[in-house]
Amino acid sequence: MANRIPRTPVREQDPLVRAGNFEEVCLGYNREEAELEASRCLNCKIARCREKCPVHIDIPGFIARVAAGDVAGATAIIGADSSLPSVCGRVCPQESQCEGACVLGIKSEPVSIGKLERYVGDWSISHPEEQTVVLPEPNGKKVAVVGSGPAGLACASDLARMGYAVKIFEALHEVGGVLVYGIPEFRLPKERIVAKEVEAVKNLGVEIETDVIIGRTMTIDDLLDREGYDAVFIGSGAGLPRFMGIEGENLNGVFSANEFLTRANLMHAYDEEYDTPIFAGRRAVIVGGGNVAMDAVRTARRLGAEAVIVYRRSEAELPARVEEVHHARQEGIVFRMLTNPVRVLGDEKGNVTGIECVEMELGEPDESGRRSPIVKEGSEFTIDCDVVIMALGTSPNPLIKSTTGGLDTNRRGCIVADEEGRTTRPGVFAGGDAVTGAATVILAMGAGRKAAKAIDEYLKEK
């Protein structure tokens, strides 16, 4: 049966205006738009969208509730599988998950599942009175959660709902992990969304202590032996930036995307009222093609730089969300595809003056299934710039591994854990990027929830 209603467009800030501010780009659906879009869903018996969702949210189920005007009902359905709908609605790569599988997408455009999820999540944030949580009697057991990112928040909130006394330890001064230091305000508002999600977790009785670096301030063993926790969940993320190892990478003006984004997001460096400095230069070249590269390039643009993406494969291989690439283009970002840096150039004072690159062409597919880039001989050329930002991915921080006995890690430095989050050390569980390496918010959230279940089983048997 053909569905004749076109995909409902979502309101956005004008590209020319938003390229100069840090306000959220996408304005989201109102009730009318959400109900119209929800009415497009065919409510498939075999819901391919649900299969493709990493946490298998009952997507047709919640969309049917939205279409019927019952957002509280939709909230409950999503809540069974996800604790961060307003975040995931904004940052999930829907085109390769739920929306990529939507039957409507075969002949026309898929249902805008992400925008509907966001609508439901935002509604529940602004209607806290609709979510009365009845907490069980405390069961007398204590669990420590390391890291307050998506994995830690999800694990803590599930454990609190089961009656555990939960305390989250966060290394930074703000709560939220990558949601706070990594993803920019223009994609995920901090006060309006992230702080509210954190508040909801606190309202379940979860305690959060900031400024505690597990592996330095205390070790995992301290938590178990000295502080009396019955189990520990490690959701410490993948925070260590990679560099290319090319000449000139330590010149002044070369930053990791982590540094650049942490200055902007966590430290509010773009705001005159805050003390932390940031430098985006006249022209900033961002190396990489993932979401972090898009976040960095669009942040540089907002700080007034002409901002350029340099990526060694072609547009089809860009790992970033389609929406981010589209938004970046609208904002005037220049994309140099099939281009790879070979060295960073500097002046006699050690400041960046340019980046020398080579052109690439695509060869045979590599182990990731993507066609691997090959250097075109003699194709060297230089892009003049005064800032270079490396957005090449991250690895887990070795602090916990190096201070915890009996905790195995793999050759990429990731903590070894099974599907349920059990590590090689009894009583110690882990999930999110600390286990998988840099991945998505929804996978981390899902891993935190699975681990909460496994921790519950472990402590009941203990």
Partner: protein, 284 residues
Amino acid sequence: MFSIISRRQLSPNITEMRVKAPRVAESAQPGQFVIVRVDGHSERIPLTICDYDREEGTITIVTQTVGKSSEKINQLQEGDAFLDFAGPLGRPSDLLDLDEEELRRSKILFVAGGVGTAPVYPQAKWLHEHGVTPDVIIGARNKDLFTYVDEMKKVANVHLATDDGSAGYHGMVTGLMKKLIEEDGYKFDRCVIIGPMIMMKFAALATKEYAIPTMVSLNALMVDGTGMCGACRVTVDGQTRFTCVEGPEFDGHLVDFDEAMRRQNMYRESPKTHSANEKCKCHG
């Protein structure tokens, strides 16, 4: 909140504060640092731990006003509090890895310059507690700029040097080092240098001549201090290292000081790093 239990003005622009931070005090070791924020708008500022008291749950820090953020710290008074005080960060001093035997045999020299004297103190004190009395060269432009000399004298043999000759040896720390070794017959097996980058560079060149294994404590720019940002990267023996997690102490004979000094000035041009009360240094 992390309240300031006591505060001393060590010189017109250097203050010492004892801060209540029980978790940090519990784990602190000589050579490590903390990251502090004064208020919700502040930068995260790394400061070397100058003393710790586990029973009292306090950490002592010494701060010199150099720009807006350090000025903000030094304006805090006794009874005020830091909004954030995270640590201990970085690796403890290598001296802590020496076994008792080796420690007792070692002749250890510290070279301290300017505000770097205070961070030498916990290392010298630790050695003293382990039965070793180190030698400490403290350098300053003139006698009024010395800090921590009385504290240091309780745990070490102190040798003073001033640029203007107003106290102790007349000249640079490197000159005094040369005198101690060549004229006074001192022998040193290890050296730790803490002070301004330029002083560490030249003092490390001097110890290289005498083939004394030398560590320097680098005060690189940092944001998170936990290995996340890479702002603190430094070249040691041709390899990029992160000061926050692999340092702050590195082999002084292998550090690329020129690059480190240049990187320290990355944000010098930013109006944010300057204090409203800052005076031009031309006529200082």
